[in-house]
């Protein structure tokens, strides 16, 4: 390879440096706010680095006391986990056979695209009737309602991702098993799923991420610690009158940790997932 001129090299590194700073600065600042003492946070001129660090917010958020921020946070954590995991489980149970059907049998492509289209519809198209149904069944303010409504997002998404994964499993392997007399469900369970294991894992993690990030439905259908999820609880912290910037920041850092870890782990398959619209406005 020919040697690069020095100036373009220098400009490249300068641009990279700016990119890194712009990407990291807000995140680092969020973390600094979460460990700065309150006087440091309200000092003028601003203390870019705190004189006194204060880790007590993290302890407060993770300790349950009646009517405390900690109680709200820990319950919200539980509700977020419950809603995300149960909705993901349902989406997989219904999505795996559906994706297999779309992948292995000719036709029904319009149906597949309709399913994908529903996933992209704005939630406002569904919120009112769902509200009336949940009210009728006494499900408002329950994790169950959120689990049901998250299926509108997760199920189409999981089906779409898994279909692409099943498409990549060679038909010949299944043909051989079929000749040996293995029935359809046997094929899916013992041949296709084990081969597409990695894809199923990716779809699972993406589904959890999507549910974890959801805010609109949770805002509308929950009202107290029995069902509020993390995004709603954090929005509440920020809207409260006695705002403790450090506490809000700490809650943000804690809520961001699981998805950030998952996303790093998923890096390679990230594009496939995101290109299906895995990010909610």
């Amino acid at each position: 390879m020919r040697k690069r001129a020095l100036l373009p090299q220098l400009l490249t590194y300068l641009a990279v440096l700016i990119l890194v700073v712009v990407t990291l600065a807000p995140l680092v600042w969020l973390f600094i706010m979460s460990i700065s003492s309150t006087p440091d946070l309200t000092a003028l001129p601003l203390h870019w680095l705190p004189d006194h660090t204060d880790l007590s917010r993290y302890a407060r958020l993770l300790t349950i006391e009646a009517h405390s921020a900690g109680e709200e946070f820990v319950y919200a954590l539980r509700n977020s986990l419950l809603a995300a995991l149960s909705a993901t489980a349902i989406a997989l149970l219904a999505g795996i056979p559906a994706a297999y059907s779309f992948s292995r049998f000719q036709g029904r492509m319009s149906l597949l695209y309709t399913v994908l289209g529903t996933y992209m519809m704005p939630p406002v198209a569904f919120i009112l009737p769902l509200y009336f149904v949940f009210a009728w069944f006494g499900l408002l303010n329950s994790v169950a309602a959120l689990t049901i409504v998250y299926c509108t997002i997760l199920l189409p998404f999981v089906t779409w991702l898994l279909k692409a994964n099943f498409d990549a499993v060679p038909l010949e392997i299944e043909e051989a098993a079929r000749i040996d007399g293995v029935r359809l469900f046997g094929l899916l369970r013992h041949i296709t799923l084990p081969i597409a294991k990695a894809g199923v894992g990716t779809a699972t993690l993406f589904a959890v991420l999507l549910a974890w990030d959801e805010f609109f439905y949770a805002l509308l259908y929950t009202s107290d610690i029995r069902s509020k999820t993390l995004p709603v609880a954090i929005a509440d912290f920020a809207a409260g009158r006695a705002t403790d910037y450090g506490l809000i920041s700490a809650a943000g850092v804690l809520a961001a940790l699981p998805p950030v870890v998952i996303a790093f782990y998923l890096q390679k398959s990230l594009i496939a997932g995101l290109a299906t619209g895995g990010v909610k406005g």
Partner: protein
Amino acid sequence: MRSTGAERQAWALLVPLLAIMAVVTSYPLVNTVRLSLTDARLTGRQAAVNWIGLENFGFVFTDPDFGAAFIRTLHFTFVSVGAEILIGVLVALLLNREFAGRAIVRALLVLPLALPTIVNAIMWRLIYNPEFGSWNALLLKLGLIDAYRSWLGETGTAMNMVILADVWKNYPLVTLIVLAALQTIPRELYEAAAIDGAGAWVRFWKVTFPHILGPLTVALILRMIDAFKVFDIMYVMTRGGPADATKTVSFFVYQESFAYLRAGSGASYALVVALASGVMIAIYITMLRRQGRTA
């Protein structure tokens, strides 16, 4: 193959999906249409619900507030997505060059994407804080402002500050999609163009651009569909304010339905929003199908 048996199997596998989708999407969608033709209210035990035909839609299309919200939503959509596309492509071109630590920088770009939308909104709200925010402190230090300002509290700046926060979080999606496309361009094409004496600018438009156009268009429409339904970031950063300066159509429907409790009217506004989204979704799916056929 036994075609009827295969057909039956194919549909049988789809039963759970179809059953769930019928309950959580088809039923609500049909009922939103039904509601939009009534004067129903959101409150529990209510007086009789009256059929009022298309009366709600008469208001929808003449309501200047909704028109303004629609324009605002378009402002948010075009400016944020436009910036995301521009920055996304530039950063992708940068990351496609060779430099030490490239893998680490690429991994860093995943951070904003992974950050939950609400956490991103809170983070930027704290940064823009009019009294103690770091944005004010930074601009003051750089000499760009003489006094602290309320960036989210002024009607002239609020929308664009929200857009900045949204762009910071979402442009990496464009970068990752374009970067994947860039890496499939054969090196020989660039070498051939260089031999022909093409400069960097010409090489970009003749070689790079045609190769990334497809994926870039997909990213563009995806981001537009997503940006058009924006709600979360407004709710946390501005609550649609100041003086409705950031009240988008999703926010409008939310208020009409859940603050003013006018379910019938809210449903009619929701349908108009859904229709606009539906057009973009149809374009997206048409493109996907076309790409699927050529692939």
